[in-house]
């Protein structure tokens, strides 16, 4: 596969690792924001290759994981309404809400369908004019423009039974919240490659500018990640802090203007509830008043009741980087992908799921 396999070359990986090992002397603590990076790091065993001076923590970049229980409870309550079809990406299905999961309500007869694109959800709306189709908008700035596109297409094609529920969140404010919380002292951040493809590398200038924090934007193949670590090691050793775009084949300085415009046309910035971070100002998206008739939250006002956290669940700590998954007492003992207590174990981007699936090889734990 062109432009994919080349970025998995074992020989080039070896050279990058040698370079990292040769230069790294100071202890460095790096956070990869994005759950996709956490998965790639564990799936390729990248931590095994790194010198002991480099420590990797995962951040809150798992959209499913940071969705507050209250939002999921709302979606579940909606699914139980007659005449409702809930369209969602697959990850959300098994996430435990306060009392149930979408998978459970589906087994009880609710019409919950997995889609791979918002346009699939639009097709479902077209095919079921007598029902209301609500798409669960979970995701960061990579997904929000695709939801915006679907809302605009619904309007253009006169599809009146398509709605979006926005639980979308913004990544720079979340990163800022982690730094402001000051719980972990970081030496550098690996920036999310696909979010930044949309928002542009310049969106991260505040990190070196306000926090003296180096940031390298990385793609998702092993060479991309190793290369980002290498640059962060160099910056750490040299005492420099800059934004470096190491995913130039996809990321521009200004990002994708078409996607940004579409997102801004349909959504406006609002405060949002993050699992693990609480309420963060100006960190989420809601549909603009002009699109109120597509806004599920406005059209289907339902109170799902008070949200409830599962006792013992430490997802919040994992998301803030203050706990590695194997450090959670429930990890593997009680909380597994088959029986998840929290979303981090069940989401494809979840750190706990990555550790569980690819894990530390028994006998080789560092």
């Amino acid at each position: 596969m062109k432009y994919i396999n080349e970025f998995r070359d074992p020989e080039l990986a070896r050279r990058l690792v040698e370079r990292i090992r040769a230069r790294s002397h100071r202890p460095l603590r790096l956070m990869e924001f994005c759950g996709g990076h956490t998965h790639a790091i564990l799936r390729y065993g990248i931590r095994q290759m790194l010198p002991p001076t480099v420590e990797m923590l995962s951040g809150p970049g798992c959209p499913v994981c940071v969705t507050a229980n209250r939002d999921l409870d709302y979606a579940i309550a909606l699914a139980r309404q007659p005449g409702m079809i809930i369209a969602t990406f697959g990850d959300m299905l098994r996430v435990p809400g306060s009392y149930a999961s979408l998978q459970q309500v589906r087994s009880e007869g609710a019409d919950v369908r997995i889609v791979y694109s918002t346009l699939d959800a639009l097709e479902i709306a077209k095919a079921n004019p007598a029902k209301s189709v609500v798409f669960l908008g979970i995701g960061f700035e990579t997904t929000a423009p695709t939801v915006a596109a679907s809302v605009l297409q619904a309007k253009a094609q006169g599809i009146g039974n398509y709605y979006a529920f926005s639980a979308h969140k913004l990544t720079p404010p979340a990163t800022r919240a982690i730094l402001e919380a000051g719980e972990v002292s970081l030496s550098g951040i690996i920036g999310p490659g696909h979010v930044t493809t949309i928002i542009g590398a310049q969106a991260w200038e505040f990190l070196p500018g306000e926090y003296a924090m180096p940031c390298v934007i990385a793609g998702f193949e092993p060479l991309d990640i190793l290369s980002a670590i290498r640059v962060l090691v160099d910056m750490g050793e040299d005492g420099r802090a800059k934004v470096c775009n190491a995913y130039g084949r996809s990321v521009q300085r200004e990002g994708n203007r078409v996607a940004q415009d579409m997102m801004n046309r349909v959504f406006e910035v609002a405060e949002a509830d993050w699992r693990g971070l609480g309420t963060v100002p100006a960190s989420g998206l809601r549909l603009r008043p002009e699109y109120a008739d597509c806004d599920a939250a406005r059209v289907f006002a339902l109170d799902p009741g008070p949200a409830r956290e599962h006792r013992g669940c430490r997802c919040g700590d994992v998301l803030r980087g203050t706990l590695l998954p194997p450090g959670c007492p429930l990890f593997r003992q009680v909380c597994t992908p088959a029986h998840p207590i929290g979303p981090c174990m069940v989401s494809a981007e979840g750190a706990c799921a990555a550790y569980y699936l690819y894990g530390e090889v028994p006998g080789e734990e560092q």
Partner: protein, 74 residues
């Protein structure tokens, strides 16, 4: 993924490893047949810059030579 064909409503036929799929170019209207695109949940989010990709791989390949020079100068 490689764009094989584009139709009038902004949907493209893309291919990877011999498998084909239809995705939307709504976020990358500048994409053309023959371009590689990065795809996220059924939408192309960027047109891959092939020159950048090749340049990046070149830099990785040059690391070994650079390391040897560094080693020699210590």
């Amino acid at each position: 993924m490689l764009i094989k064909a584009i139709d009038r409503d902004g949907m493209a036929e893309v291919e990877i490893g011999g498998a084909n799929r239809r995705i939307s170019l709504a976020l990358t209207p500048e994409a053309r047949v023959g371009d590689y695109v990065i795809v996220h949940t059924g939408f192309a989010i960027s047109v891959l810059d092939e020159e950048e990709a090749r340049e990046t791989l070149r830099l990785f390949a040059e690391l070994e030579a650079a390391q040897e020079r560094e080693g020699a100068s210590l």
